[in-house]
């Protein structure tokens, strides 16, 4: 199983197309999932990802601090999404949906 929690995965996916600050990530995740993550959930995930070297904070701009994926973060996200795709494909095949 993956070490990444669901909020962490959503943060990585949100940052996959470029750096974002916290508020923009909240908006993006709300659009992706239909549910806006709370500030505690969001920054709990950001802290763990930053500690793990998967994302990095960029210099503050207009009192907002953007974050971006690191190389390791991008590779981890790719690996996790591939794993999820394989898992989904297997599950759907067994259900005879595909």
């Amino acid at each position: 199983m993956s070490d990444l929690s669901e909020p962490a995965m959503l943060v990585l996916i949100s940052l996959a197309d470029g750096p974002k600050h916290g508020y923009a990530m909240q908006d993006d995740i709300a659009e992706l999932t239909g549910e806006r993550p709370g500030p505690g959930t969001l920054y709990g995930a950001i802290r763990r990802l930053e500690d793990g070297g998967l994302i990095v904070a960029l210099p503050e701009r207009e009192r907002r601090k953007p974050y971006e994926l690191t190389g390791a973060g991008r590779r981890a996200l790719q690996a996790e999404l591939r794993r999820m795709r394989e898992l989904a494909r297997t599950g759907l095949r067994r259900l005879a949906v595909v």
């Binding site: 600050h21 508020y23 923009a24 907002r64």
Partner: protein
């Protein structure tokens, strides 16, 4: 109102998280579309961060620090005796080179330990508590030192190094503890009102440069000058030590043996190694108190230095949540 709630909620986080993300979290919280839900979310995660940060190794480190503080009186007493012996040896050696005055002996006997231990106490007090959240307490340090000192006086035989009579030493240490806690509370109150007249004065008062203040400005509107805080601390500490020794001597001597008229001078005289006065207590200060005045003095210097140790700049919080709302 919402900004204040946001700041209060962020304060629940452990310091290391608050320092890194506090401003951003309070910004999102203050600008939230669902403030009640997000407030609960932040509180929940703040508690979770505390749970995640707890570890037995941290607990062990805290216990070791407390034990180190409690050992300080024992180390001080041992070091004082050793250094005063060194002072005496220097005095003996100096006799070889000619006539030596008694004052020179006294200066060596009390000056050598004081010259070494007092600066060490200042440095140790200012450095020991860095990065330790529990160090903010004004009770913790005096309590640990007092517990250690009671431990020293309770050692059979060797305990007399801090006073010949256990009950007198214990009473003096109790008074010292209560007095230093009161001094700590007073210091906090005064330093909160300290007027900052210069950068140097400010640095000594607050332990950080003026620019590190949350609003980036010097606190010029306060009422008590910084130098006055120093003077008040020194006077208060002296009074505490004086009272502690009066309590000792009055608890082991009768009223006629230890009259009030001589009482204020007992501590300073004992500190510089003088037996003086007409009373029995005055004539036997050194035999009765032994190294108690010196150990309590070093403990006091350490505690005052701890109160005034440098502290990291506080975490900034957003002033206007609208600034953080995404464009």
């Amino acid at each position: 109102m919402r900004d204040q709630l946001a700041r209060a909620a962020v304060r629940l986080y452990p310091r290391h998280v608050r320092d890194r993300y506090g401003e951003e979290i309070s910004g999102l919280l203050a600008a939230s579309h669902a403030p009640g839900r997000d407030l609960l979310n932040v509180v929940w995660w703040a508690v979770g961060e505390h749970v995640a940060a707890f570890s037995f190794s941290r607990l062990a480190r805290a216990v070791l620090r407390l034990a180190g503080l409690a050992l300080l009186p024992l180390v001080t007493a041992a070091a004082w005796l050793m250094l005063s012996t060194v002072g005496l040896i220097i005095g003996r050696v100096s006799i070889v080179f000619g006539e030596v005055a008694e004052a020179w002996f006294l200066a060596l006997y009390f000056g050598v330990p004081a010259a070494v231990l007092v600066p060490l106490a200042v440095v140790a007090g200012r450095r020991w508590g860095r990065g330790w959240p529990a160090a903010r307490s004004v009770v913790l340090v005096p309590a640990c030192l007092a517990a250690g000192a009671v431990g020293v006086v309770s050692i059979p035989q060797a305990g007399v190094v801090m006073g010949e009579r256990w009950q007198g030493s214990a009473a003096a240490i109790g008074v010292w503890f209560a007095g230093l806690v009161a001094v700590g509370i007073g210091y906090r109150w005064m330093s909160g009102r300290a007027q900052v007249a210069s950068g140097i004065g400010y640095r000594w008062m607050s332990g950080r440069a003026p620019a590190a203040e949350p609003d980036g400005e010097r606190r010029m509107s306060r009422r008590v000058p910084g130098w006055l805080v120093w003077v008040c601390l020194a006077v208060a500490a002296f009074v505490v030590l004086d009272v502690a020794h009066v309590v000792y001597l009055r608890s082991v001597f009768t009223g006629t043996q230890a009259p009030w008229a001589e009482a204020p001078l007992w501590f300073p005289l004992a500190l510089v190694g003088q037996d003086s006065g007409d009373s029995l207590a005055g004539r036997s200060l050194l035999d009765t108190l032994k190294a108690l005045p010196h150990v309590l003095t070093v403990m006091t210097v350490f505690t005052l230095a701890w109160f005034k140790r440098p502290r990291p700049a506080p975490t900034g919080v957003v002033k206007n949540s609208q600034d953080l709302v995404a464009a």
